[in-house]
Symmetry: C2
């Protein structure tokens, strides 16, 4: 089993990254090996509540998002700086984020 502290292998990208791509994550178009997704909420209260849940999880994982918020919009980019690309930690955090977002639909 691959260490969580390495970049995903080509096989892992197929099995672990593709399901996220199917769920509206996209590869960063700036050339970085990163994934990003846009989230839309009813209002700021919902958006920041969501961010707070993600923040608690991220800090516990010691793996933090790059994110932008204005009012009811949240843009999240995930990448693992220490391996200069997408690792299993990004997959884990993205999966948590999607689960969390379910409760706002």
């Amino acid at each position: 089993m691959a260490s969580k502290r390495t970049k995903l292998s080509e096989d892992e990208r197929k099995t672990k990254l593709n399901p996220l791509i199917d769920n509206k994550w996209s590869l960063d178009d700036s050339g970085r090996d990163a994934i990003k997704k846009h989230f839309l909420f009813k209002d700021f209260n919902e958006a920041f509540g969501f961010m707070t849940r993600v923040a608690l999880k991220a800090d516990r994982m010691d793996h933090h998002p790059e994110w932008f918020n204005v009012y009811n919009k949240v843009d999240i980019t995930l990448s693992s700086h220490d391996v200069n690309g997408i690792s299993e930690r990004d997959i884990s955090l993205a999966t948590f984020i999607d689960q969390c977002f379910q409760s706002y639909k």
Copy 2:
């Protein structure tokens, strides 16, 4: 006294905006009438704690920041969309943000 729902007058910019510029806020360089500032913290926990205090204030004011965070860095941009520029609400929120940031120094 000017309504809070109008853009700052030239006189108000001198008396109310200049003190913020002196305190490391800068005019947005993209051509928008907005102010922005970069904040640096010890770690994500401090940064997100600060963001949470600002979020509570912003939601109470019904005046929300545009902000970006990664780990211990927070970039905040303030502008009043409804008047397409800087209003007294931006001054109030920026002043609160600076007061709040004091406790992390």
